[in-house]
Subunit: 484 residues, 4 copies
């Protein structure tokens, strides 16, 4: 959306991106054609020569175009559209090589003396264009729209295919130019190879090349004279490197790809090992396993990314919490009438957590460290005091659990157990009290909300005074008691 100078194109413009993609296709053609012409054709003729010239012309157009494309400055992250700067940047980096790889070969051959102008070597200059493929893959690897595994595999496949193709073409050239055709790697098995079709010669070359590269080495085709041996030595050394590079990359991908499963298994195994050794009852074992399973499943599906969120600055995290939870928290009975400022601060401090079905969130008599607000799902409130489990309430979206314990500083009154998959907002007691402290008026509103809750009236008739007293005490002494 940035307005650029006249005739200057943004590198993010859709049309320019399409042009770049089109060039990649041409580069792939060049990567195939250059070694092929170098190895198999004395001189490109007919359709191939025409296509070559068209491709060269298109790359020449790109060179001109580059002088009109803005670029992003590396230090200020701004789009530079000054023509001088663009030109200077291009001229001082890749212009010469780009130009050299576009000069028509016919001209080169006429200018240079006969011996130097040997056809093939200038064709290879075209391969400079491969840098575009290299930078394409570097970009794709970082692009979240593409799967890392497949991008990487595609890159390795391309490298391997190019190596096989180039080596095949080169070794055919070595054989074709040798003075004694019968003492070449291909002539020894196909004596009349000079008169065979291009298809047979090309496939045989590729076959020899891949047989060597994959270290199969049948031996039906092998170096016959000393020069072939010397070139094969170099090729095999290169293959050693390439093979270990392929394996290294695959290992890297496998290790990365199985990390999640391994971590999952490790934690499940640790949990069950612990449970079996200590003979924990089945109910507890099930809760442990289902919680760990859920947390790994959520992690992979993107519900829960606490680590990533923690690396973001506070303002973004606050914005996210505000977007997701403000409406819900504002409607919770406990925070009715509370000022916008305080709600904002409360929401910033809340953490969203997921619990699988039938897991205990709060235990009766537990120390009150956290207060929960239900976002989705249903939670049962259970009373154990009478000995048996007795469901005495249900918490749905927008309901608050554990608030009495937290605000009155008493052990939790109920066990809260999820009925289905629940998303809960957790608010730490210390955080709540320190926010209340700096918004004393809102604190009173919260206490009033709590006292008006019918639940409190029924369950805490007797302890009410105590509760209220404690709260007043908190607010009066707040700076000293929870001042940190």
């Amino acid at each position: 959306r940035v307005k650029l100078r006249r005739f200057i194109v943004s590198p993010y413009a859709r049309r320019y991106k399409a042009w770049e993609t089109f060039l990649i296709v041409l580069v792939v053609y060049t990567a195939w054609a250059s070694p092929f012409e170098f190895g198999f054709l004395e001189r490109s003729r007919g359709a191939l020569a025409l296509v070559d010239n068209v491709v060269d012309a298109l790359f020449a157009v790109d060179i001109v175009l580059t002088f009109f494309v803005a670029y992003v400055d590396k230090t200020s992250y701004l789009l530079i559209d000054s023509r001088k700067k663009i030109a200077w940047r291009y001229l001082s980096t890749w212009f010469v090589l780009d130009l050299a790889s576009t000069v028509p070969l016919e001209i080169v051959r006429r200018i240079l003396p006969r011996k130097l102008g040997s056809y093939g070597f200038f064709t290879m200059l075209r391969l400079w264009r491969l840098r575009r493929v290299s930078s394409l893959f570097a970009r794709l690897e970082k692009d979240r729209k593409f799967n890392y595994f497949w991008v990487r595999c595609a890159k390795l496949t391309c490298v391997t295919l190019f190596a096989v193709h180039s080596a095949g073409c080169f070794f055919y050239l070595v054989a074709a130019r040798y003075h004694d055709p019968s003492r070449t790697w291909i002539g020894a098995s196909i004596p009349d190879f000079h008169v065979r079709s291009l298809w047979v010669r090309y496939v045989t070359s590729l076959y020899w090349s891949i047989t060597t590269l994959s270290t199969v080495g049948y031996g039906d085709l092998h170096a016959q004279n000393t020069w072939e041996m010397a070139f094969t030595i170099v090729y095999m050394l290169f293959n050693l490197g390439l093979a270990s590079y392929l394996i290294g990359n695959m290992t890297n991908l496998v290790v990365h790809g199985t990390r999640r499963t391994r971590n999952y298994r490790d934690s499940i195994q640790a949990a069950t090992g612990f449970a079996q050794r200590n003979q924990l009852p089945d109910r507890l074992q099930d809760q442990m396993i289902s919680h760990l399973s859920l947390s790994f499943r959520i992690d992979s599906e993107g519900l829960h990314q606490q680590e990533t969120l923690d690396t973001l600055p506070k303002a973004i995290r606050s914005s996210i919490s505000h977007h997701l939870f403000y409406p819900l928290v504002a409607k919770a009975y406990l925070f009715r009438g509370v000022s916008h400022n305080m709600l904002f601060q409360l929401v910033s401090e809340m953490k969203a957590e997921y619990f699988p079905p039938r897991e205990d969130v709060i235990l009766q008599n537990e120390a009150p460290t956290d207060l929960y607000i239900v976002v989705t799902g249903i939670m049962d409130l259970i009373d154990h005091r009478s000995g048996a489990e007795q469901v005495c309430g249900v918490a749905k979206t927008g309901d608050v659990a554990g608030e009495i314990g937290v605000l009155c500083c008493r052990p939790q009154a109920f066990t809260a157990r999820t009925r289905s998959l629940c998303q809960l907002l957790r608010l730490n007691r210390t955080t709540l009290l320190s926010i209340v402290q700096s918004n004393v008026g809102d604190g009173t509103t919260i206490v009033n909300n709590l006292l008006q809750s019918p639940e409190v009236m029924i369950c805490y008739c007797i302890t009410q005074m105590n509760c209220f007293g404690l709260l007043l005490f908190f607010f009066a002494r707040s700076d000293a008691s929870f001042g940190r």
Copy 2:
């Protein structure tokens, strides 16, 4: 235990699981038979044809059955048993492919024109069933009842065997259909291969296939004509990928499998390096080594999984501690008569730790930061003050150590040293005092318990007043002193 609608089967029902396991066996048969028939048989006959049809019929039954199996919804984690939803889900995902891979081949051949209906290719549609094996392995990898290493090895072996088998069958087909049998990879070494037994032809094909895949490449059998070369090129490229995938996986497993030993060695080495450089006395070195050894041995056997436990929510951890340690703590003399609420909170905060024999747990004169309760094992209480070591007591299951230091805020009075492998509950002083603070009545009970302990009477006659005074002082000023 969930009640489903009539005629709807749960995916967790034992019978359905048995049926699925049975189908896996059939899939394995298909994986072997399809390429084999494709490569070696013009038309399946006799027993093989019968078995094929039976297997097809059973998969047809499974297609029908799938319309009656409930499924777990991905967002709500609930079991869906509505017939419409089940049908819609199946029809919109895999139904078409499942059906296509079950159509009898005889019918296909009659319907389609002669040339298109070439036998082999339709057999290959059967391989769609392999997705069941793939999902089976994905499940087994996450199943804690199976060893990850062996599941993964089994998967890789299956993939390799299938690749070898398929390639062998395919290359035999290529050779068998070539116009000049003497110019094929098999015909060059076995000129009369057409009349040899199936066993010889099959083993030779597999031999050729595995020789290429494992990159041994003896060269006794190798591509003879251009088409074979072309196919071999593709196969070798695939092998490069497969080989690096195998190696990558094995590396992953080895790295994962030796992690524990490496970590153990690293920490032992760091400890001994430190000890030798600083010329620590042997007793200390032994204590360091035996503690590190124990903590690694326990880790592998499942006694100690603090990390996993820490990822569980507080309620589950409290339940576990309550289950394991509540009875023991309730019987400890220090907590006799203390309210259920407070005991619950104390137990939640305790950590279980293991100590090897003859290791110091508490040192005389150390600052009192922790209190220990013995769960298993025996601990000696040793007094160094007289110069020599003098055992002045023994702590057994249920006894408390270090309580005087912690409660009176004085340096520890004894060295506590384990006699055998001990499991101890550790309670942090700060935690204890903050719990005592919110349960003032129970605090008094604890002080009384402490004062009635004969040990205290004997050892601390003189400092008793001071001790009592400090405690009173604590409770009076508790909010300010340990209010955090």
Copy 3:
């Protein structure tokens, strides 16, 4: 040193360990001889037969001996010397297999019917003894006296050699028993192999075996008949697994071995990148680099192993600190006359740190958070206030630096810069004050020591009152101010 029952041997006794080591040598002999006899000899004769019987006899002795060796119980870590328990444990685990692998072959052949008693297969039972080698390597891997890399390499070499040797012997057997010697892998190249020397036959077998295992596959020797092909298929599949296992292990070792260097480079690179980008002056850059270099060098040499020490329980850490630093701290002028209890607590809380030459430890005007005691090396105290750097003192072993800032709660008065490699004890201000608080008498001693220091008299004449006043203020209000 534990007294065992009569006739019961400790597994840690030196003689028993020697006996076990001797048995390992015999196992290595068995591992070589068993496959060799199986493959190359119809019936062991002469010296070999004698040695075999002696070895068998020695293993029989070991079986008897095992009934008299105590063992360590897995749950209590105690040495069990009850004969009944030892016998029961052995009988219920490995006794049967140990016995089966020791029965003399002559007896077996007489008892069993001719066909079953085929010589070779019973020889293979001897290989059960290899479990001793396996458990030896498991032990060596964990033994800190042996280098992990070489132990692991030795293990892999042994596995590879055994695989090559066994496969060679087995394939010779397959060839030797084939009805048509000219159509075997060895007969095709050495037609008269039956009459060649054992050395030629054995080396040729090994050569074939290793050529296949290392996937070189020259092709001069290769499978000639269908059975050989079938066995070669199995061997090549096994080789795929073995090769990837070897590579996986080597990768693991390389990754583990280069971790330190990589970490070092990463941190150095981050530091220099930061310095260059921010154009920090050379002096600061040098300090950063030399500090990072030192910390990595120390880490590798064992001077500094904070992480390992942190995993040890507090009592051991206190013992170590006490052993290393108590005498030094007790002699420091600041802690002269301070009670043993308090010194003990102070020493427990001190951290030893290393500083390279010419690095700033304390900066003038910095907030006083730490106090340092010099253990080794020399430190210059430098005053910048006059504009230029002016060395106004030197701190040697036993001297204290930064104490005035810490105790008077003022910015540091001097820059302290190391002259040579220094080991310093760091004591945190908060920790010091909280220890002083609980030992009020010792606090007064420390203040007196400080006031008697000539340095303080000279430099702080004016601020002395303030300093003293602050200290009194600290002790009076200590519980509230630094009560945590």
Copy 4:
């Protein structure tokens, strides 16, 4: 710059380093020449013999020189220039081997009896010099000026080339000395190899060697007699190890090299997964992605290396902060007139952070936990209270944002949003207040600065008293409120 004794050279002296580099070149020559002479030449003649003698002489010079080079002591890190110590250290370590590898071969042959003095084996002693190459690579790996990947690759290439070269020479020797030339690996394919040129023989040897090492194994050249088989077995075993070492190293490098990209992708993926699932608005998504992208880009370019800085001791970190930010902070209006001491402490506690363009740094109504000072870039101050966004100010280099919230303990008054890439200094509120507390006079200056700010006058007319009151309250009660 250290002054050494007379005639003693520093190991860091430029000339000595050049001499060492020159010796490395000679070592490379030796590494090539020694195996070559051993394998192909009966006796070195002509130019080669001359060069050998010159090289030996130069190494003899180095032996003498070593007695005059100071060394760094391993424990004290000091440069030792005592001649006695230097001599003792050299004589007790490598002197004997260095000498043995320098003795002229002509002398050796004359002294030793004919049979023992076989030419070749003494040439191999020269290879002891390779230790210099090994230690060179160890040094280069740790040198930050060289890329780790390429140093490691170069090392592996050297090892591979040396292995190929040595094996080639050795196997030629084995063939050349065999009694029946036609039954050697080279004689079987080149019957007249004895009379061929050195070039043909050398290339053929290398070709055989690399064919085996890379496991291609064409089979055109292979072992023909038993001794060759035996040596090939050893070579192939060595190759197994070398190949897995190469692959292991490459894997290590690949894993290390792609770590950054993988981490980047993981965090981006987690963030977008979270955003999509929660349907966050586009603006928030963009902020998340651009922040994560920036933090990874900065990390790789060296702007932000918090982790490394955190491992440095406090004094260095303070020096860095002081160098970078002191002038800027001293000029900020809020800290005008504040004492040097306090500024120093403030600067030490500040953290530099980067924010991409258009990201929120402070949100209106957020709890005030941090104060920011702009180092580079421009930040908009935006007011949302009127409903629409309204830019009410701009913060440039040296301006302070969020100070009113922090000092008056009120929710933030503005949203602060970056306009371009910004570097901000973040100062935590708690840290600020605790520093202010110990510099009460400076606190008053800061309050005065704040009150004189026109911004405060306009926006906070009404709340001014409250603000001032709170501040006074802070300073009065400071010890209790933020005493930690």
